[in-house]
Subunit: 194 residues, 2 copies
């Protein structure tokens, strides 16, 4: 997605340790016009896949999921990272290792919000090693839901998450795939059609 | 907001301990059409207040903030509840006590995203005792930003958060104020104009 790549070049940074900083528009401050374009693009890609629910994980994923769900006119459900006192009833759980925070955490999702009747588009802002995504896929499998697509805003192409899920047969689309930086510090994107 | 009150009656529950369950449309599963109407209503209320930024806190607040920001055409910035390795640079912090989770936590916001030039609308899904809101107000004060309004989706009218902030002079609007339940278990709302 040209608009997103241009924005990453303009306002993003790739830091030592392969950290991609896009906090001015994607995951701390949010540019809702850009998010709206992202939602429109996910709709273009997945509109014929019979999606009836969008699944994401708190926190930044919620913004992308909501802006995309407007186009699909379907509900969003988001997995929670902490167990709330108020999250009663039966829940699906899966354990995820976070490299960002350096620890394991459980994600939870109320069973009443995901089931065999659901055709799910999973959305998230980032894909690196793919640990959080594996947690969401695990939850979908427990629910008997069909995963029709995975939409990632920015994929770290130099980490294995995206390519291993494509190899496993998922219809995974990343709107920008960052491969690294060249010697002049320019961000290198994987060429994609569209 | 009539539409919201009707939805709370239809799909919400008030539980022992004064827990209001609205997880089927507001804070676990999200009804984006309802969120869009909520955003439109906040815009109607605050459109003449010169808002140039919407501030919220992860996680559910992000959904409401994004859907509202579309109408204002301004960026959203959300305070984070956990310190990320990737959140470098100078940050504002404030300590918040959560009754839901039964512990204190720090909220953080990068200094570069909030300053004296900002006229802020603070949005959140719930207001009870108001601890999280006091953290956000504290961050705004540290930043020198002007708080032009506070928009709450559901206020627990039987808890002091909302009324104490109104008494302090804030332009605080709650789209639904739940006062409790009557003897037949019907939810009682505080009468409001509009």
């Amino acid at each position: 997605m040209k608009l997103l790549e241009e924005r990453i070049v303009k306002d993003g940074q790739v830091r030592p340790g392969n950290i991609i900083k896009v906090d001015s528009f994607l995951n701390h401050q949010l540019d809702v016009n850009l998010l709206d374009e992202i939602g429109k693009e996910f709709y273009r890609i997945y509109k014929d896949d019979g999606i009836n629910k969008i699944l994401t994980i708190e926190a930044s994923g919620i913004a992308i999921a909501c802006m995309t769900a407007r186009y699909f006119d379907v509900p969003v459900v988001f997995a929670k990272k902490a167990k709330s006192k108020n999250l009663d009833g039966e829940v699906f759980t899966s354990t995820v290792h976070s490299f960002t925070y350096g620890k394991d955490y459980d994600i939870t999702l109320a069973k009443k919000f995901l089931g065999p009747e659901d055709r799910v588009l999973i959305l998230d802002d980032f894909m690196a090693v793919g640990k959080a995504m594996h947690g969401l896929l695990d939850v979908c499998e427990q629910a008997g839901a069909t995963v029709c697509g995975i939409g990632i805003t920015i994929e770290k192409g130099f980490q294995p998450g995206g390519d291993s899920l494509r190899a496993a047969g998922y219809k995974l689309t990343s709107l920008a795939i960052v491969e690294g930086v060249d010697d002049e510090g320019n961000i290198i994107f994987r060429p994609q059609e569209g």
